[in-house]
Symmetry: D2
Subunit: 135 residues, 4 copies
């Protein structure tokens, strides 16, 4: 299996499923956001604290390919790789069905960092990435 720097296992919640009986597409984006924020916490940061200090990560683009529908009762493994490209932090975010590790969704999320409402060059992200490379 492919390698990732961070993984989070989540259980599908029934209110996330729609009338087709599968997880509604928008919830994959939510799984991905929650995984990024948990990844951040694993590095000693917190989204709310950053916000209170005037630092806001804003997603500039999301791209998701849906491969296999998750259903009620399923667990999922949400995986992350990350790299810096210019001022952006680019997340590769893949979601697998936990039971058999079949790929459910493949995402790419780009994020920029604002400080007091102004675009930064992402120095803050550089420090985060250093932490990862040391571990």
């Amino acid at each position: 299996m492919k390698e990732y720097i961070f993984k989070l296992t989540l259980k599908v919640r029934d209110y996330e499923c729609d009338l087709q009986g599968v997880v509604n597409n928008s919830n994959y984006q939510r799984y991905m956001e929650h995984t990024r924020h948990e990844f951040l916490e694993s590095l000693g940061e917190n989204f709310r604290k950053m916000h209170e200090e005037g630092l806001d990560g804003f997603v500039s683009s999301v791209s998701i390919q849906f491969k296999t529908s998750l259903r009620s009762g399923d667990s999922l493994v949400s995986c992350i790789n990350v790299a810096k490209q210019g001022v952006k932090l680019v997340f590769e975010q893949d979601i697998y069905r936990a039971a058999d590790m079949v790929l459910a969704a493949k995402g790419k999320v780009e994020s920029v960092l604002m400080k007091d409402g102004k675009l930064t060059r992402g120095e803050y992200y550089d420090k985060l990435l250093e932490k990862i490379n040391k571990t």
Copy 2:
């Protein structure tokens, strides 16, 4: 039909429906919140502006009886009456299926007002209610 001081018509969104094919219960609470905030806007207030001025309405209790399930394709009429009881603002919130005005859900929501994190006696609410009584 019963009289209300504020009504809002909304369309069911398919992502609000769960695998039973009906609107998930938690969304009635969301319809009711949105209706209260639109009611607030109809009186010249806005939830975000209030928050930025240190004023936060907090819901202290919610009670909902579910009568008839709303489904994909349905519209709903979300209705409000309101009264002050002590420091609380008490909302009577009824939701009807728009096509035949069958009662879908019957709610009671109690809200208190915090100013910079401290409970107020709700003087702000008194002024709002005065506006209503004048109209």
Copy 3:
């Protein structure tokens, strides 16, 4: 601490927090639903399978008192007790902040069981409760 027959620990997800910086009220109802469904799974049942067999649990009423706001970064412990009252299954659902077990929300949820669209006397629930009493 009070005793419960089922507990589930969840982490607050940032998209569940609203512009007041706290978990939006409607999400407590969602935490409670997910906890009931996980409780069901702990007894060998699944909400979707039940639905596919024509058995649908419908919530007839929800009542929640909000005590302490959960925030970004918090974990919560969602607890259940359950009893049968007539045809209804009545869930006592309390949510605590995990860090200090302060009560965040106190809920009561009543559920009836429909079989192929008709109200049952809840015999299915009787069998579930027998399973609990045996454990």
Copy 4:
């Protein structure tokens, strides 16, 4: 302004805003889904009825660029253009802030049609597009 074959005006709901005070990214995907389903209804179809007849549209990919954050109090205009590419229906979905028609988000959504669980060549979509071209 650019031309679209379908437009829907929606009001931001405060529970859609997160602790940054802006609409959470995942909700743009929800606005886009709701707009597609309302577009479908404008052509005499309904998502649930299609599902009950064994016809399910599945989104195979979503790509969204976020341009300007929507906030509490904002209304939005959600716009659609659509074209068939092979078996896929490709939606161009742009969301504007209603007050000044500033572009808030730019989306591309690809959808395939399943009949009783099997991929179709999208003949159903061809008929839909014919309806549009006639109007």
